[in-house]
């Protein structure tokens, strides 16, 4: 055998070994021991030309030896990126096989410019937070507007260019961060809206009873003769129990009126909590009026004092005028008729 006409077996063998570099050294040694001699002989039989390139040769060697396929070469970052890209590519082709899937993918791809804009805005928030020191959710000033516009344009520019693997990996990381920021931003907006809704709720009560916007805390019913009815059960047109404000709510047990102070002339030395009444079934209900109140330790407390007896709330009137009977309509409007009856003043206690 004449090895002199085949001077590159060493280089070829070295290239094959390089392809196997991810394997343990002794494994490579065992696999390629005597490779130069084999190559020289093989090439001599095939007119001095390698039949396949070193990479393919190494791959064949691996497969036949039952070893795992070569890991992608390059930096670890590059390998991760390539592995991820191949995975995504395989998913994409799997989805593309389905016509509906292909349409969906095309639609998502058409949204890409919108994503570039969103990504630019996502960069805007952290940058204002870090460099300006406060978060302005929506750019309003000239500086913030210019900054937001620059970031959106930058994001589009980055999106339109074809980058190398390292930059693509950075963009991927940036995109993940942008998604994170956008989720936080949406949560922030939602949180603010919730606060706002709560504020609105407090201003206009949507529960209980109100008279011209003032909360009704208790109800006093008077009979046909104008005498206070000790206890009355109230229901609405649908048979639902009528309850005032917040069942179980608290208030003032005894008001003290100070005539010397015109503005804050009422004070509450004894706080109380509204108490339900018991039915013959044993159930406690909140639609029996006037409601009684039990003393609490402090104002705002929702637990009555141990052993506190529910006491009657003071009625606004001792007696009101008796009902004068039913009259036939004389054609006047009901509200005009009511105005005429205002002369009958109830008796204050």
């Amino acid at each position: 055998m004449n090895t002199s006409i085949l001077p590159d077996t060493t280089a070829y063998a070295a290239a094959v070994r390089a392809e196997l570099a991810d394997l343990p050294a002794d494994e490579v040694e065992d696999l390629t021991d005597g490779l130069e001699a084999d190559l020289a002989e093989a090439w001599a039989d095939s007119d001095g030309k390698p039949l396949v390139d070193a990479q393919e040769y190494a791959q064949e060697l691996r497969t036949a030896a039952g070893l795992p396929p070569a890991r992608p070469r390059g930096s670890t970052l590059h390998q991760w990126y390539e592995r991820g890209r191949m995975k995504v590519e395989s998913w994409r082709s799997a989805i593309r096989r389905n016509p509906a899937g292909a349409t969906t993918l095309d639609f998502i791809a058409s949204l890409q410019p919108a994503w570039w804009v969103a990504r630019g805005l996502a960069a805007y928030w952290p940058i204002t937070a870090i460099f300006i020191g406060f978060v302005t959710p929506i750019p309003t000033g000239l500086l913030t507007l210019v900054l937001a516009a620059a970031l959106v344009i930058g994001s589009i520019w980055v999106g339109k260019r074809n980058w190398g693997p390292a930059m693509k990996f950075l963009i991927l990381a940036g995109n993940v961060f942008a998604i994170f920021v956008l989720i936080l931003a949406l949560d922030y907006v939602k949180y603010n809206n919730r606060i706002y809704e709560q504020y609105v709720d407090d201003e206009i009560p949507m529960y209980g009873l109100a008279l011209n916007g003032n909360e009704i805390t208790n109800i006093f019913a008077y009979d046909e003769n104008g005498a206070l009815i000790p206890q009355v059960q109230l229901f609405d047109q649908d048979g639902k129990a009528i309850t005032t404000s917040d069942p179980g709510g608290n208030g003032c047990l005894t008001w003290v009126v100070d005539p010397s102070n015109a503005n804050f002339n009422e004070s509450c030395p004894t706080a109380g909590v509204w108490m339900p009444s018991k039915l013959e079934t044993g159930a406690f209900v909140w639609n029996i009026f006037p409601m009684k109140m039990a003393e609490t330790e402090y104002e705002g407390d929702t637990e009555p004092l141990v052993g506190a007896e529910p006491v009657d709330a003071a009625a606004p009137f001792v007696k009101v005028p008796a009902i004068g009977g039913v009259e036939k309509s004389d054609g006047t409007k009901p509200d005009e008729k009511a105005n005429k009856d205002e002369t009958k003043e109830p008796q204050k206690p």
Binding site: M1, E41, T63
Partner: protein, 108 residues
């Protein structure tokens, strides 16, 4: 039909068969297989197979220094390798007889 596909399943037994009577080094084994008619066998496939059979204990190996060039690595069959060869030979004969009948349509 692609002969290389068929070869994949039987390369082990083919390699064992050509080293059964005489030890051989890598390219020597390739050459014997090609001479026997397996012209499409790939060099690296044979070397990988030799390595795998060696790892499995079916072959032994030893290095023979060469005066004129690089050393050569020889492979020889072990008792375990012979046992494996016998078993695979029987399997193959049965399989090929079945395939013959199937493809030629001759009843058994």
């Amino acid at each position: 039909m692609d002969a290389t596909q068929l070869l994949k399943g039987v390369l082990d037994v083919a390699v064992l068969a050509v080293v059964e009577t005489e030890d051989g080094y890598g390219y020597d084994v390739v050459r014997r297989l090609r001479t026997a008619g397996l012209s499409e066998v790939g060099d690296a496939s044979v070397y990988g197979t030799l390595r795998r059979l060696y790892s499995a204990g079916a072959l032994t190996s030893y290095v023979v220094p060469s005066e004129e060039g690089p050393h050569r690595k020889y492979y020889g069959i072990t008792d375990q390798g012979r046992g494996k060869l016998e078993a695979q030979r029987e399997q193959w004969c049965e399989f090929s007889a079945t395939m013959d009948r199937l493809l030629t349509g001759v009843a058994a």
